[in-house]
């Protein structure tokens, strides 16, 4: 068994690890690096619970090999809050009760952030289709969609205040 030595950046920190060739990036994050915020709901890219960003692209980390992380920039749920300051999406998810069991929540938050960074003023339909790759079995999506839309409004207002 020969491992791959990988150097990568996770949430701004330089990280090195050794992984087996068949190990997914999700396995590496969870089992080697202790970053268990990304969850495995299916292992086949269908549920989105393992969503992360790889060089700014939203991906299912269960479909990426650990070895592919070499030289890339990774963002996970663990890097979303800045110190003790929650990201506006995290705050709105709490205010809107947009989670029940919470297993899908990290994936939804990472996916929703990727949406708002590309589309700051999404319509309800845009939110629903963008998040269609993330499964939630508890909420019926109503409160999740509302939380994302409310975040967009708030972030726009904050931007206006800053300007």
């Amino acid at each position: 068994m020969s491992g791959h030595h990988v150097t990568t950046t996770i949430n701004g920190d330089s990280v090195e690890f050794v992984c087996e060739p068949q190990e997914s990036l999700l396995d590496v994050l969870r089992n080697h690096l202790g970053l268990t915020g990304a969850k495995e709901g299916c292992g086949t890219g269908d549920c989105g619970a393992c969503s992360i960003e790889l060089d700014g692209r939203l991906v299912c980390s269960c479909l990426v090999l650990g070895a592919e992380a070499e030289g890339r920039k990774i963002r996970t749920i663990e890097g979303m809050a800045k110190g003790d300051k929650l990201h506006p999406l995290q705050k709105k998810f709490l205010e809107h009760a947009a989670l029940q069991c919470g297993i899908c929540t990290p994936g939804f938050l990472v996916a929703a952030r990727a949406l708002l960074e590309r589309t700051p003023n999404p319509t309800e339909t845009q939110v629903r289709y963008w998040l269609a790759g993330n499964l939630c079995r508890c909420t019926g999506y109503d409160k999740i969609v509302r939380a994302v839309l409310a975040t967009a409004v708030e972030m726009k207002q904050e931007k206006r205040h800053a300007a």
Partner: protein
């Protein structure tokens, strides 16, 4: 019982109940810090994996594990020989966790290994040689009941039929609930509709696969970390199956990533403990999604016949149901609950519901949200809808005219106390959704539903800290925000801030036994125990204040979070706040704590009515849900956001059950869609906003009026959606799911019929 008197102390005005504070576990869950089943690890940990039967039905002649055991890195292999056989009620549970003489379904566990890495464990599974004698199988409920069907268990003779059967059968038992005389009732009917229905099995579809970390030493002492709806259930069942003392097994419930009834039993936990005991190392087991679908507990598939008769002016004269539910390879399908709930929404003089519990070569069903009720409700509500159309009566009015209310003798026997079905119907009728204009290919449907709600064994401890904050320990895993509700109830009772209470789910060694988080029981039962524990603390605090003031304890009252002299006769003392009494507690008699244990009853039956509009594409058979509105009786909503969430979540699961989700078995008896790609649960773009109306008809058995809310919400959706789809396409849909191929087929048959 003291309970009655205490509940008489009912509260109807609230400071905090009904507000929407942020849940105490919220920040952990939005930052990725919350630890779920698969998020734990231990030094020296091995990875456990299960070898599963590829056959739907096969005799296991021999299992050879020698090669697997010899593989470097493999530390233990277990098979049926490592679990002592038994003859009691737990035998089916044991056999479901590890097959004995036969593999009874595709995915049935046959052996398990623990190895130093997942890759080695996978390799070891391939080295286990199982000698199978493949047997004929049956997976369909109607096929399984036919004479000549492959028999799963030659020792099973149908219970409760006369004369006693002389031949074994796949029908485990028959049950019947009846009132009045249905023959006479149908004779009085002007219009009778009789229809047959089928529903496919669906899975709870929790996003978190089953996971546990087990550690069992040679001294018989052990621990498990596990995602479950009931860690005491895990403890008691595993201790029994492995021959351990209950006290020696400590179970900690992780955060749980959904359950919906599917995590109310054991699957991998006894296996992980056996592997740990054999290897002397901690063993972690995490199911794959494929395993979750093939080898946990989906709900029953069903076949049903419903007959209902009404007078022209809309009074139902008789109702009859034949229900056949297959519950997988073991008896215990929820058909009896289906028979009890089928007509519970109606005030009927003549009613009869018969149920058959059938076994097939499928995984052993587990509870799924109001187990047994949704299928029967789909069938009954479809017939009710058709009758309303036939007599040209508004479907809400038809239901109102026959609705169960306080004093109605329910179809399953007991007489209803205060219930809110009529209020839910009236709320739906008044909602703008009921009058929204419909376009071409669009249809509207509604349906009502009922669930009992249960309470059960509950035990709660409330500890007061020196700074006036409170640590509340409950024993019911929090599956959808219940810690927030517990904090609210404790804070309300004690007159302190919500933020001052921290609720945790205690492990099995720290708190007395608690039933599983099921039956919509937690906010009711753990809430009741929390309120009682808080009242005990208040009593003690009043006594401490009395001692401090040198007056008698009954001269002190509690008001707004303060102990006060009861009147001017008691003396003139400055009230002592919760915080002050807490701060002085170490000098006034020691730590302050309240505790309550109860076998709670009276969770309060609950009714809901759902309304939905759909549009069906006649070319593809694709159905889009346009609008969805729910009215449900919650008794009293403690945290309305999470009550709404329960309503909405049930509706979304119902949308999946109605339109897409189904277990598809091949001719070989193997599950063909064991993954989220092919077993498609609703995604955000499949759902509209789901409007909710919380009806509050107080439950007299709870101090705040709470009723369970978790399960009722999945009872009406299939009927509501089926009625909407049938209205949109002009063909009555009789099978679930109403997937595009089934709708296209229904439309083609209608065209063919028209052409003929």
């Amino acid at each position: 019982m003291p309970l009655e008197g205490d509940i008489a102390q009912r509260k109807t005005t609230f400071k905090q109940i009904g507000t929407r504070p942020i849940r105490p576990d919220g920040v952990d869950k939005v930052t990725g810090r919350a630890r779920f089943g698969a998020d734990a690890s231990a030094p020296g940990m091995l990875i456990g994996k299960v070898l599963r039967s590829p056959h739907a039905h096969a005799r296991i002649r021999k299992i050879n594990t020698a090669k697997a055991e010899a593989l470097a890195g493999v530390k233990a292999v277990v098979t049926r020989d490592d679990f002592k056989d038994r003859n009691d009620a737990l035998r089916d549970v044991l056999v479901n966790c590890m097959a004995r003489d036969k593999a009874l379904y595709d995915g049935h566990a046959v052996a398990a290994v623990a190895a130093t890495t997942a890759a080695i464990a996978d390799k070891a599974l391939k080295l286990i040689v199982v000698d199978y004698e493949v047997l004929p199988h049956v997976t369909d409920v109607d096929e399984a009941m036919k004479p000549g069907a492959p028999i799963l268990d030659k020792t099973m003779f149908t219970n409760n039929v006369e004369p006693k059967p002389t031949k074994p059968s796949n029908v485990a038992s028959r049950c019947e609930f009846a009132l009045g005389d249905i023959k006479a009732g149908f004779a009085k009917a002007d219009v009778v509709v009789e229809r047959s229905f089928k529903t496919e099995a669906t899975h709870q579809g929790y996003i978190e696969p089953h996971a546990c970390l087990a550690n069992l030493g040679p001294d018989g002492q052990g621990e498990i970390w596990v995602c479950t709806q009931g860690h005491y259930m895990i403890r008691n069942t595993c201790a029994d199956l492995l021959g351990l003392d209950i006290s020696k097994l400590r179970v900690t419930a992780s955060e749980i990533g959904g359950g919906f009834g599917g995590k109310t039993t054991v699957f991998i936990e006894p296996v992980a403990l056996a592997l740990s005991r054999k290897s002397g190392r901690p063993v972690k087991m995490v199911m794959t999604r494929n395993e979750v679908f093939r080898a946990t507990g989906p709900t029953s598939s069903t076949s049903m016949r419903i007959k209902v008769g009404t007078t022209r002016d809309g009074r139902i004269t008789a109702a009859e149901a034949d229900l056949r539910y297959q519950g997988g390879a073991f008896p215990g399908s929820p058909v009896e609950l289906g028979a009890m709930t089928a007509f519970a929404c109606y005030d009927l003089e003549n009613v009869k519901a018969v149920g058959y519990d059938v076994i097939t070569n499928r995984p052993k069903q587990a509870a799924y949200r109001a187990p047994g009720a949704p299928m029967a409700a789909f069938a009954v509500e479809s017939v009710i809808d058709e009758l309303a159309k036939k007599i040209r009566m508004d479907p809400v009015d038809f239901r109102l005219k026959n609705a169960a209310k306080q004093g109605t003798k329910s179809a399953y026997g007991p007489t209803f106390g205060p219930i809110g079905l009529i209020q839910t119907l009236e709320a739906i009728k008044a909602h703008p959704n009921y009058r929204a204009p419909l376009g071409p290919n669009q249809g509207r449907g509604l349906a009502s539903g009922f669930w009992f709600n249960f309470a059960g064994q509950t035990c709660t401890t409330l500890n007061v800290n020196l700074d006036g904050t409170v640590a509340l320990a409950v024993g019911t895993p929090d599956i959808g925000g219940s810690r927030a509700s517990m904090c609210l109830m404790a804070a309300e009772e004690l007159g302190i801030g919500y933020e001052q209470v921290r609720t945790i789910v205690a492990d099995t060694s720290s708190l007395g036994y608690n039933d599983v988080t099921d039956g919509s029981r937690v906010t009711f039962a753990s809430g009741l125990a929390t309120i009682m524990a808080a009242r005990e603390v208040i009593k003690k605090m009043c006594a401490r204040a009395a001692k401090t003031w040198g007056i008698s304890a009954d001269a002190v009252t509690w008001e707004d979070g303060q102990a006060k002299p009861a009147g001017s006769n008691a003396g003139n003392f400055k009230p002592m706040s919760f915080k002050e009494i807490a701060a002085a507690s170490h000098s006034t008699g020691g730590p302050l704590a309240g505790h309550h244990e109860i076998n709670a009853d009276g969770a309060g039956v609950s009714f809901a009515t759902h309304l939905c509009d759909v549009e069906v594409d006649p070319e593809t058979g694709y159905t889009r849900v346009l609008r969805y509105t729910i009215a449900q009786d919650a008794g009293k909503a403690i945290h309305p956001s999470y009550v709404e969430g329960q309503f909405q979540g049930g509706a979304a699961q119902g949308i999946g059950w109605a339109l897409n989700e189904e277990y598809i078995y091949g001719k070989d008896g193997r599950l063909q869609n064991a993954g989220f790609l092919d077993y498609r649960i609703p995604v955000a773009s499949d759902c509209p906003m789901i409007d909710t109306i919380i009806v509050e008809v107080a439950n007299p058995k709870h101090p705040y009026g709470v009723r369970g809310v978790g399960e009722t919400s999945i009872v009406p959706p299939m009927g509501a959606i089926a009625n909407a789809v049938s209205a949109a396409i002009g063909v009555r849909m009789l099978e679930l799911p109403m997937s595009p191929p089934r709708i296209v087929h229904a439309l083609d048959s209608r065209l063919k019929k028209a052409a003929d």
